[in-house]
Structure formats: C-alpha cells, structure tokens
C-alpha cells in the first residue's frame, strides 16, 4: 500500500508540543476517569441500596404459586391445596449457581391483642434456621431473642410492641381466618422485638415460627406461600428468575411463578433508572467540556501550523488530505487519552471496590427509598460505561477537530507562505 502520509503527519504532530499534548490528554483522561468512576460509584450505591432494601425481608427473587400475587390469598400455596415437598424445592433452588440462600414463608392477615389493645397485622411464618440466609430480620433484633422453632412465639416490631404495650415475655392473643374456613385462634408469647427503621415492618408485622403459624392457619406443613431467595448480584435477578423458573418446572415443582425484585419492587427500578439517567447528564457535561478543550488545543496548533498547511496545499495536497491530517491528530490524541484514562481508572475502580470509601463517620446511616443505606461508596465495575466513555471520548476528539480541520483547509497558500 502506498502509505498515506496523513496519519503519519497527524500522529507526529502530536509529539511536537508534548507539554500541550500531555495536558490535553490528561484533561480528557480525567474526564474519562470521572465519568467511569462516578458511574461505578452510582452503580455501587444503587446496587447497595437494592441489596439493602431487598435484603431486610423480601430477598432479590421470590417464588410463588402463579395466582398468589397480587392478592396474597391464603389458599394459593405453592403446589396448590396439596402443597409441595418444601425441602426438595429449597434444595432445587439452592442448586442454582448464584443462589446464596432460600427460605420458605407463609403470610396471613390477622389481629393481635394484648388485652387492652388490638391491632391488625401481617402474620409472617418463617423457618428460623433458614430465614437468616435470606433476610436480615434477625440482625434487627433489639430486645429479647428470636422465636424458638415450633414454639408459639412471636417476634414483633418495637413500634407494634409500644402500641400493644407488651414487652418480651408478654402474651398476645392472635386471631386469623384459617384455610379450613375456621377462625384460627391461639396464644403466643412475645420472644423479642426488632427495629428495622421501616414503618410497615416495625408497626405492622408479627413474625413467628413457620410450623406454629401454619398450625394457626390450618395449613399443612407442605403448604407455603413463598420461597424467598437471596443472590449476590442484584442486577442478575431477572436472569436468575428466568433460569429458576426453568429449573423448578423441570424439577416437577408444578406451576410456579419466579419473580425478580425488579418486578415486585418497581419503585427500586425507578430509583435505579433515575440514577443512571443523571449519570448520562454527567457524561454529557464532561464531554461537552472536553469538546471545547480539544477544539481549543487543535485550533491553536492548526493556527501555529498554517504555514505548513499552506505548503502542503501549494504542493498539491487536497483539502481532504489536510482534513485527514488534523483528524488523525485528534484520533491519536483520543487514543492516547483513552489509554491514559484506562490506566488511571482501573486501579481506582479495583481499589474502591475492595476498599470502599466509608462516609458513615461523616453522615451516619440514612434511609433512601424505604431502605436503610450505609454511606459506603463501594464502586461497581461499570463495564459498559468503560466502553461508552471511550467511544464518546474518541467521538468528542473527532467532533472537536472538525472546525480546526476546516480552518486548516482555508489557509490561502500564497499569502500565508509570504507571511501575510
């Protein structure tokens, strides 16, 4: 190939004022850095928030009978009225790679009474041994202890305890419509109190051992409403729900609906979208600034070299060749900036992923979208943004070079060479 001289000229021109080149490339690299690192932080923050919000109780993936939601009808247990082999189902769920824990649950509306006061609550039956692998209810215990498996004991929110005026050790009468059409009615003892900071949990929920609640509701041990599932990466939830649906149908669990948090906690999705939307505004601002920086540099350099462009035109170069030389310089600048940007970005991403910035000493914990968040900026690896930002940077450099390139072709050769 008769090598085109334009790339060579553009590339070497970049080395002529190395200080300016380094400054501009550093500016672009810092732009790249900030876009990618800020995105990584935002992703990390959102992931953390999702993890926290779903980790308190709901889990990131849930399996139900297909008709159970949205009404949470008492009869719609997994496997229908016959129920299912719960241990086998849990076993099948946990066999899925990426699943960190799975716990069975039953739900029912009921009334709890301390004699003086009666309050309507959501009764939640959990397997105390398994619940810990999915939710952080146990960690929210502030007084007393967790219910003993099989015993008629309840863990209630501290606010509910205040309304009922009970303390751990106190007794509550629990009344709930049962699956056999009767009215379940039992005496439970308060084993402990929890406080999550979330009003509906703290004031409106009572948690008991699965077997005791099933008995109250006249549900056989094989009948549960929900398998709550914890996974590592919240963004993997939709894919996980799909593959669990396939796996559980194949395992003969009968009709079952597996849903990711993105379906049963849509408000968290809105929040995540808001966050990534504002990221794009940051990207836009950073690169708009970069356009002016690069354009300014290239305008200066092309102005300084107008004699050379005049010479090239005099020698018979076409304006297209001149444009290519300037664009080549911009592309070379862009590539150098990307390499520099990646070089300063990756270590910081790795560092802040493994050793996140902890701002809790400054701010304390705070609640966001109904979830308790620790202000720990653990950056995620925003892989797609790494590529988008690199593409945007290259495009930026090219866009910024268009006007200087055009100017370079408009140099009048005779006058310029005469120094006019």
């Amino acid at each position: 190939m008769p090598a085109s001289p334009w790339w060579r000229i553009g590339w070497r021109n970049l080395g002529r004022n190395s200080r300016r080149t380094v400054l501009t490339a550093t500016g672009l690299a810092v732009g790249y850095w900030s876009v990618v690192v800020i995105t990584g932080m935002a992703d990390g923050l959102v992931a953390d928030m999702v993890r926290t919000a779903t980790g308190i109780l709901s889990g990131q993936v849930q399996a139900h009978a297909p008709e159970y939601l949205p009404d949470r009808t008492l009869y719609e247990t997994i496997g229908g009225a016959e129920g299912t082999d719960v241990p086998a189902l849990l076993h099948a769920v946990e066999a899925e790679p990426g699943v960190l824990g799975a716990a069975p649950r039953v739900y029912a509306g009921g009334l709890v009474s301390s004699g003086a006061t009666t309050v309507g609550v959501l009764l939640l039956g959990v397997d105390p041994a398994r619940e810990d692998s999915v939710s952080r209810l146990a960690a929210a215990l502030v007084e007393g202890r967790l219910p003993t498996p099989g015993a008629r004991e309840l863990l209630i929110g501290r606010e509910l305890a205040r309304q009922l005026d009970v303390a751990p050790g106190g007794e509550l009468v629990v009344v709930a419509p049962a699956a056999d059409g009767s009215l379940g009615n039992d005496l439970f003892r308060v084993s402990g109190l929890y406080a999550t900071g979330i009003a509906e949990l703290d004031a409106g929920t009572a948690v008991g051992p699965l077997a005791a609640i099933q008995e109250l509701l006249a549900l056989a041990p094989g009948r549960v409403h929900e398998i709550a599932i914890r996974i590592g990466d919240p963004w993997a939830a939709p894919g996980m729900a799909d593959s669990l649906t396939r796996r559980l149908s194949a395992a003969g669990a009968g009709p079952i609906a597996v849903r990711p948090w993105t379906t049963f906690r849509p408000e968290l999705v809105d929040y995540a979208n808001l966050s990534s939307g504002s990221m794009w505004i940051v990207v836009l601002i950073v690169f708009a600034m970069a356009v002016f920086g690069v354009a300014n540099t290239l305008l200066m350099t092309t102005f300084e070299r107008r004699r050379e462009f005049a010479l090239l035109l005099a020698l018979g170069a076409t304006p297209g060749g001149i444009v290519r030389a300037v664009l080549a310089e911009a592309v070379a600048l862009g590539v150098i900036s990307i390499l520099l940007g990646v070089a300063i970005t990756v270590p910081v991403l790795v560092w802040w992923h493994h050793d996140p910035i902890d701002l809790s000493r400054l701010f304390g914990d705070f609640t966001m979208a109904g979830a308790l968040v620790r202000p720990v900026l653990r950056t995620d690896y925003p892989l797609s943004m790494c590529f988008y930002a690199a593409g945007a940077l290259l495009l930026t450099a090219l866009l910024a070079a268009l006007y200087p390139a055009y100017r370079a072709t408009r140099v009048p050769p005779a006058d310029t060479l005469a120094g006019r």
């Binding site: 008769p2 060579r8 000229i9 002529r16």
Partner: protein
C-alpha cells in the same frame, strides 16, 4: 522559440491587482511571456516589483485578475481548485525561501512527498530519492528531520522534492535568500547541474546577483511589467 506550443509555462496579458483597503495595487501588469522546456530563467527586479506574484500566477497559487496562464499547454486561469491542486502535484515543483519542509517528516519523507500523494510505489520512491540525494550531495541525510539539517541542506531537500516527480517546471522564489554565500553557491550549482543533466526547467525569482549571473535568460521586472528579457 518562446512561442513554441509545448511551452512549460505561458502567459497572455496577465494582470494581478490586489485590493487593499480600497486601494488597488497592480502587482503584475499585462505580462505576456513563455518559458520553453529546459530553460533556466531568472526573474530579477527590486523588492515589490511583482516577482513573487508572477511566480504564484505561474504556479496557480494566485488567480489572475485578467489574462490567461497555461502550464504545459493546459490553461489554469479558471479551472477548479481540485484540478489546480492536481496540476501542481503532477506538473510543478516549488522551492520557497523558507518553511519549505514539514518538520515532522524526515528528509526522505519530505522529498518523496509528492510521489506519495501520486501513489508511486514505495520501491520506486526509495530509489528515486536515494539517487537524487546522491546527485545533489546530501546522501546519508535521508533519515534526519529538518531540524537536524543546516539551512543549505534543507534547501537541497526542498530542491529534491521539487524535481523528484520530473515536473514540467520548477518555481523557486528566492531559494538562496536565507543562505550564506557558500551554501548559496552550492545550491545554485545543484540546480544548474539538474538543469543541464536532467533538463529540468527552472524559473527563479531573486535579487541574488550570483544567481542572475548563471541565468541563461534574465527577465527584469519593473513595477509589475517586463522591462527587459535577455538570453545568453
């Protein structure tokens, strides 16, 4: 002979008038002339007499206000910029007073530049530049950047670039003006030799008397018009 149809460059009553703040400057005033292939022509005259402007008209770097210009019998007065660029690339060589070379290219890359734009294969480019550098006494400097060459060496590289494509005409505007007398003499020798051995046609603009002495044809310009045209 100067009206031979195969003239390297020919003009017919060519004028160039510059408008400057409403004042018209008649830089070239009705010049009719012709340069035959193989000639070694010097345009002499005081500063401001129109030498550079006339060379620029020859080279298609300036459009005439009136009159016509032909390069190798191709009229260039009113053709498109694109065509003009192509004619400069294929028919003309330029040597300027200064800023002749691209600083980021080596001597060889500068010299072969027009060949590169014409798409001449690498082997041929190499061979031609090597032979020329040998001929004009700068062999061994091929890989140096202009910054590492003396003024005289730089001008020789510029001459090499101008003649490497075997143009119909080489236009040289004050090529020795920035050189000491020894370098001027050496450069002049190179061009005389190229003219004699390869038959390259040269048109110079200069007020260097040594260059005038070597001219086979000396044209004096006064106020943009030809005052005398003598052959030796």
């Amino acid at each position: 002979m100067s009206d031979s149809p195969a003239a390297a460059v020919r003009t017919d009553a060519v004028w160039k008038i510059f408008e400057h703040d409403g004042i018209a400057v008649e830089a070239v005033r009705g010049v009719t002339m012709s340069v035959a292939p193989g000639e070694f022509v010097v345009l002499a005259g005081p500063s401001g007499s129109g030498k550079t402007t006339l060379l620029n008209l020859f080279g298609g770097l300036t459009r005439p206000t009136r009159g016509r210009v032909w390069i190798a019998e191709q009229e260039i007065s009113d053709i498109s910029e694109r065509r003009l660029a192509q004619i400069r690339l294929e028919r003309l060589g330029f040597v300027f007073q200064a800023y002749n070379l691209l600083p980021v290219l080596t001597a060889r890359e500068n010299a072969e530049f027009s060949l590169l734009l014409r798409g001449t294969p690498e082997a041929e480019r190499r061979q031609r530049v090597t032979a020329l550098f040998e001929r004009i006494g700068i062999a061994g400097l091929e890989d140096r950047r202009p910054g590492k060459l003396s003024g005289g060496q730089q001008q020789r590289v510029a001459v090499a670039r101008a003649v490497v494509g075997e143009p119909a005409l080489v236009l040289a505007d004050e090529p020795t003006a920035n050189l000491d007398s020894a370098s001027s003499d050496a450069l002049l020798e190179v061009m005389v030799q190229l003219n004699q051995e390869l038959g390259t046609t040269f048109v110079f603009a200069t007020h260097d008397t040594r260059l005038m002495e070597r001219a086979k044809r000396l044209i004096h310009l006064v106020d943009g018009a030809v005052a005398s045209d003598t052959r030796r």
